[in-house]
Symmetry: C2
């Protein structure tokens, strides 16, 4: 890494452009070709250039803008989260810059470029991890980082306890007498190792073991989030168990469960008479489908993340909790019953 | 209206603050109280103050930011739309400022304040109307307006033809022999008069009349968008027709239809054996619920809106269509059958 005190002139020299062009490129002005802008940004990144270090030392805010970075804006969870935090930030007269970043490469590219452009006071990352290197770059320019929908040791976060949510769902099934319980897990191929999944899966294993049942790999299938995949996973599990279906299924999210319900219906299995189904979220359609689920209030988590940003920008670190674990609650509906 | 050439000094004088304070307030700098900022913005609004008129005459962009204004970020339609346009704008290195504005008063306040702050090059309004006065204010500062998800005579738009979508759904039911057809309509109380609804409702009336059936008000119920309301509307229609249910229901959107399906199930009516259901959208869960629907690709409409912004900012008015009508397509699934 080069010295963090690189000047604009250093950047211009490194990129082989004039000072004016370097300035325009970094300030996103028009009249600079995409190729030139890319070259200047690359130079700025390489030299760890930070625009106007004196100004950024004031940290909280020249821009009054907050970047919200989400991997999947189209999904219920993310819409709720963004809605909740936008309300809080807008009320404080802060603008939300929305960035949709898909896979890991996109995300690295985004988080690496953001500092050189110094466009925001804070960054809220929704449900994905930020690595140490990315975190350092953001801190260099004084942008606060808040994690929403996922836990982090390195910066303030708000999320549910996935192990707790999974345990509530599994405990409900076990209390109803179920022992042969399948699990449909959610995986995000763009976010390998993101710990959301493992908390829910650990709860599955631990709850079964607590009643003396050894988890059976034929009853577990993990798929990418999304309703259609939930149907495919359910079919796979039924196919892998020709001796008879499980008496219950624990599904990592409601959207996956909607698919599982369809698959069960298409296979002629009744819910809950033949198979009980429980999941996590309390998506608005869960009630309509009579789905028993562990509810979380995602919009409220968004609001907490917004409040964390306000605390950070107000320079009141004492008032800022290192993490908030949002409550979860079992909602029993008609998709689960006694064995 | 005052002269559009009011200076910053005029604004400061009118607001009773110093020039520096007026400037800071308009530039969203810190160190200005909310009350003062409100006073200055009010003065700027009253005087039609436009920051740096010379610069704004260059119109297409100092900011490289686009405001996306949505009334309901949490809903499927809006998430899809924002996702689609963010991809196109991000690829062109434009940032998306997301504004969630709820009711009409919020919206007016937002659209009135935006010009004085001159923060964006373009405004995309998603599925709500902009009135003449608001439009003029935005044009004054050279911000382009694009309407996504709703038609407009005044600025470029992309949306489906609601009459066409409704006609496809209704024609499908009529072709299956249905004549006693109910309708669950969607209303947005925050957007009175927004024409989306009437296109779908007109299609209902016209299709019935085309087969010699006079629309029966006891078979029609309009509710606010949202799945739970669809269930309530279905119950109301069944209650209003004790002599027997309709043989089919045309629902204005899939999310309302999910509720209608639950209500029918709870009343012991089978779909499609007793009642056929058809709606509009092709929400990802429609397939899982075997719902026949008229599909629209909302993310693609978002991408078109993004392209329209690029055309506008590139000053290529010739390349910019005044409106794009997105295609719709009937997807026949298991929720509809012959009478």
């Amino acid at each position: 890494m080069a010295s963090p005190t690189a000047s604009l002139a250093d950047v211009a020299r490194h990129a082989g452009v004039s000072l004016a062009t370097a300035s325009r490129a970094l300030n996103d002005a028009y009249g600079v070709s995409t190729a030139t802008r890319a070259k200047v940004l690359a130079a700025a990144t390489e030299l760890d250039y930070v625009a106007s270090p004196d100004a950024t030392r004031l940290a909280s805010g020249a821009t009054r803008r907050v970047a919200v970075v989400v991997p999947h804006i189209e999904r219920w969870f993310f819409g709720q989260m963004v809605g909740g935090l936008e309300r809080v930030l807008a009320a404080a007269d802060l603008d939300v810059l929305l960035y949709h970043v898909g896979d890991e490469a996109d995300r690295r590219d985004f988080l690496t470029r953001l500092p050189a452009r110094r466009k925001v006071d804070a960054v809220i990352v929704v449900a994905f991890p930020v690595d140490e290197d990315e975190r350092q770059r953001l801190e260099l320019i004084g942008a606060a980082i808040i994690a929403a929908g996922g836990q982090s040791a390195d910066y303030p976060y708000v999320c549910i306890d996935d192990y707790e949510a999974g345990s509530l769902a599994m405990r409900h099934l076990v209390d109803l007498g179920h022992r042969r319980i399948a699990m449909i897990g959610g995986l995000d191929p763009d976010q390998p190792g993101w710990p959301v999944v493992s908390g829910r899966s650990r709860a599955y294993d631990d709850t079964l073991k607590s009643v003396g049942v050894e988890p059976d790999p034929r009853l577990v299938h993990e798929v990418e989030w999304g309703p259609t995949n939930g149907a495919a996973a359910m079919h796979r599990i039924l196919d892998a168990n020709p001796d008879g279906p499980p008496t219950a299924v624990f599904v990592h999210s409601d959207e996956l469960a909607f698919g599982a319900l369809q698959a069960l219906r298409h296979r002629g299995l009744r819910v809950p008479d033949d198979v009980s189904v429980v999941s996590i979220d309390d998506h608005p359609l869960a009630e309509l489908l009579d789905l028993t689920t562990v509810a979380q209030d995602v919009a409220a988590q968004g609001a907490v993340a917004g409040q964390m940003v306000l605390s950070t920008l107000g320079d009141r670190p004492g008032a800022l909790p290192s993490g908030v674990t949002a409550p979860v609650e079992l909602r029993v509906r008609a998709s689960t019953r006694h064995t």
